[in-house]
């Protein structure tokens, strides 16, 4: 790995990549980046753990409010979004596999599918869930103005719902931006190949995390009545 041709412009980006000089070699750098990223993912999980704790507390405290609130969620849209995310998780894994095999074309196709899925998820969430609910006054906390609340504490359920899915949606956007950046670098420099795909792998890990969190959110929010 240390014999990298850093001068020839014709070489694809992944072959030209030189590791940062405070590492001893590229493997060390790759391991360090992966360790660092796993630690970062741990912090993300802990961030959501706080939300899940709040969810558990209030579900125990106001079970009827949660049942009443969950009743308003359409399992079909939630299920479709779950499917969308599962597909995208598969394609992002495939794009990493393609990088390892130096199949640049399918690497990009897979990335594009993943990114499209991300936006589809976001589109479904916004158009079929957030906007109709918000316009019917189904909002968190004091903003709640729907006259047909099923339970006095239903606004608390909506606070938890909007808080959890809102922060998750933010993560979907962040993940999609990371993957867009990878796609740009792949198109421009052929940046990822068998010996160097750190950024792509870490973005992929992030995307899996987004998926896994949704896998927990979906039953907790949609499937409790």
């Amino acid at each position: 790995m240390t014999t990298i041709d850093t001068h020839s412009k014709r070489q694809p980006g992944w072959k030209r990549y030189a590791f940062a000089n405070h590492f001893r070699n590229a493997e060390d750098e790759f391991d360090a980046c992966k360790l660092g990223f796993w630690l970062f993912l741990a912090t993300e999980i802990l961030l959501f753990a706080g939300l899940f704790c709040a969810y558990a507390m209030y579900r125990v405290k106001f079970p009827e409010a949660f049942a009443a609130g969950s009743h308003h969620l359409d399992i079909r849209w939630g299920g479709l979004n779950t499917l969308v995310l599962l597909v995208s998780s598969f394609t992002v894994a495939m794009s990493i596999r393609c990088a390892q095999l130096d199949n640049q074309k399918w690497l990009r196709i897979n990335l594009v599918i993943t990114i499209l899925c991300a936006f589809m998820f976001f589109f479904i969430k916004l158009t079929f869930e957030y906007i109709p609910k918000w316009s019917h006054g189904i909002r968190p906390g004091v903003l709640y103005s729907n006259p047909f609340a099923g339970h006095p504490q239903e606004p608390v359920w909506w606070s938890v719902y909007y808080g959890a899915t809102g922060i998750h949606a933010l993560h979907v956007l962040i993940g999609a931006s990371l993957l867009l950046w990878c796609l740009y670098r792949s198109l421009r420099y052929k940046a990822y190949g068998p010996t160097h795909y750190t950024m792509l792998e870490n973005s992929g890990l992030y995307w899996h995390l987004v998926d896994v969190i949704w896998i927990f959110l979906f039953p907790l929010l949609y499937l409790i009545h």
Binding site: N21, H22, F40, L47, G50, P140, G141, V160, G163, I167
Partner: protein
């Protein structure tokens, strides 16, 4: 004896990291503002942290001045009722003056916790020393390091904005529902301040993550886990806590901001929320963070005591494992901040767990003192600080016992006893170790020596002032003085006045130290690479270190504390004599 190359082994000289670039002042500013060098970042953090420490300290002095006299309504000569004894006259009514007092103690607490003590040692000395001690060129992710510096600056900016915009009067703990629905005219400020703490959390997470990876991946050849200096072990334990606990405060503060803006009803009991849940969330982070604050102080103390006593640390492994033990058990004891708010079962469990965390802490103190046995103990400013640390931290630790004991805590909770206890730990422990560490590594960081007698004088002033200020507060607490009071009953006045006098001595001592540092930068003598005879790798580098720390990658051949067997680098062996070598085949112990 050693194959570690020293700067004098070879001819070529590159500039130190402090050498200004060609191109004048602006080039230097740009170089510093865009640097990814852990040393420059460490220095910038030090300047920021010390400046904010001064702001927080001045707020504390103002708080002490307000407490010189209780607020009273008396009749003046014309027979009108007038309010006396209020130092803060910024409001229109006595109640508004109280609000100003509340803002000032919040400023003091929030700045000291979120901007000074939590990032304090890891971001300053940790950044500067960790790669040097490991024999590395830099931390694992230098650009991430620069990013965390700017995140820190952004957080500080938000905090300062909220202070300029008349400040926050919630206390640094932001307890709901006061912070979410009641705090006086601070609708935006509470949001600003909590956003600041939220942002600072990211800086803290990224620094911790960077350190963990650095320690795992960038130890120099020959350095196993148990060849690392104890400061590095302390940083490792600290970083684990930072990474695992900070996200929880992140989500907590986020929910608090939602609560404040949208009144979502998660913490506000008026809407079905639970304020005790906020306390659980808050302390699940803020208690482990107490160890983020103290563990680096312990690491610094280990280094200072070993170097200046010229002895291997007694029970090295015990101290290293105690750090990890404290980090682990530290996650399980947050409930002891809420003995007066929880049910019996939870309180009992948390009380028992709290005693467990006392044990590794005590083990460390025993080990430090045993290290002094049969040493060759230098008497200089860093050592004086190390002894001050042992003295004050022991008091801080021991006074934790009546607070962990349920029956006595129900009396002492939220009283001045608690205030005194955590100042003995946080200031007497962390800040004293930090200032001592600054003296200890000052020659390495700046390449200049400070004036020894001034340093000693400052340390003695701080020691006296600190004890007068805070030992008094133990008595105030046991006698019934609650914390966060702008006024008090007449019986407490004498003790409050003693405490205020002490705080002035303490403040003066701090300014003596500051003057000493500034004088040293301007007119200090040039420092040798290894003024104290230290053995860990940072003492092999130049003073100040070169751009890439070492001229060759070092290869470790001895432990960090082999003072009985190895001559220190860059030193005259006659100044640091060794005891007779052990006969061949004999083992240590």
């Amino acid at each position: 004896m050693t194959t570690i190359p020293t700067p004098h082994d070879h001819g070529h000289h590159e500039g130190s990291y402090l050498t200004p670039p060609k191109g004048g002042f602006f080039a230097a500013v740009i170089q510093w503002a865009t640097t990814v060098d852990h040393k420059k970042l460490g220095v910038m953090y030090t300047v920021a942290v010390l400046s904010l420490f001064m702001v927080g300290g001045l707020a504390a002095l103002l708080v002490r001045v307000e407490l010189w006299e209780p607020t009273r309504v008396v009749l003046n000569e014309a027979g009108e009722a007038v309010t006396t004894g209020q130092f803060f006259q910024l409001g229109k009514t006595p109640a508004e003056n109280y609000t100003w007092y509340n803002r000032f103690f919040t400023i003091h607490g929030a700045i000291m916790v979120f901007l000074v003590i939590v990032p304090g040692v890891p971001a300053t000395l940790g950044n500067f020393l960790l790669p040097l001690m490991l024999g590395a060129k830099d931390v694992a992710f230098p650009r991430l390091n620069l990013l965390s510096w700017y995140i820190y600056c952004t957080g500080a900016l938000f905090a300062i904005l909220s202070l300029i915009n008349t400040g926050v009067d919630t206390g640094w703990t932001f307890y709901a529902p006061y912070s979410s629905s009641h705090a006086a005219n601070t609708y935006n400020n509470v949001v600003l301040m909590t956003t600041a703490a939220f942002i600072l959390g990211f800086s803290s997470i990224l620094t911790g993550l960077n350190f963990i990876v650095t320690i795992h991946k960038l130890r120099c050849p020959g350095m196993g886990w148990f060849d690392m200096p104890l400061f590095v072990w302390a940083m490792y334990a600290t970083s684990i806590i930072q990474v695992l606990a900070t996200p929880v405060i992140g989500i907590t503060l986020l929910l608090l901001i939602f609560e404040r803006i949208f009144h979502v009803g998660i913490f506000d009991p008026a809407m079905g929320g639970d304020p005790v849940l906020f306390q659980h969330f808050f302390w699940f982070y803020s208690h482990p963070v107490v160890y983020v604050m103290i563990l680096p102080g312990m690491g610094i103390a280990s280094e200072m005591i070993a170097v200046h006593a010229r002895k291997p640390i007694f029970g090295y492994r015990a101290i290293a494992f105690a750090s990890l033990g404290i980090a682990g058990v530290g996650f399980l004891v947050w409930g002891h901040h809420m003995f007066t708010a929880m049910g019996e079962l939870a309180s009992t469990i948390f009380s028992a767990l709290t005693f467990f965390v006392a044990i590794p802490t005590a083990v460390k103190v025993f080990n430090w003192i045993a290290t002094l046995y049969k040493g060759s103990i230098a008497f200089n400013t860093p050592m004086l600080y190390a002894l001050t640390f042992l003295f004050l931290f022991s008091i801080g630790g021991l006074t934790g016992l009546p607070l962990a004991t349920l029956a006595t805590d129900m009396h002492l909770h939220d009283s001045y006893f608690v205030v005194a206890h955590f100042h003995y730990v946080m200031m007497g422990g962390t800040i004293i170790a930090f200032i001592g560490g600054l003296h200890h590594w000052w020659p390495k960081i700046t390449g200049k020596m400070y004036t020894e007698w001034v340093g000693m004088t400052g340390c003695i002033m701080v020691f006296i002032g600190f004890n007068v200020t805070f030992f008094t507060q133990f008595f105030l607490g046991t006698q019934g003085m609650p914390r966060r009071y702008a006024s008090y009953i007449d019986e407490f006045q004498t003790l409050h006045q003693i405490s205020t006098v002490g705080s002035m001595i303490l403040g003066a001592g701090m300014f003596v130290q500051l003057g000493n540092f500034l004088h040293s930068i301007v007119a200090g003598k040039k420092a040798p690479p290894n003024p104290w005879g230290g053995l860990s790798l940072e003492w092999y580098a130049d003073s100040p270190p070169s751009e890439h720390n070492f001229h060759h990658e070092p290869i470790l051949t001895h432990g960090p504390y082999d003072y009985e067997d190895v001559y220190p680098p860059h030193c005259d062996p006659a100044d640091f004599p060794l005891p007779e070598p052990l006969p061949a085949g004999a083992k240590h112990h």
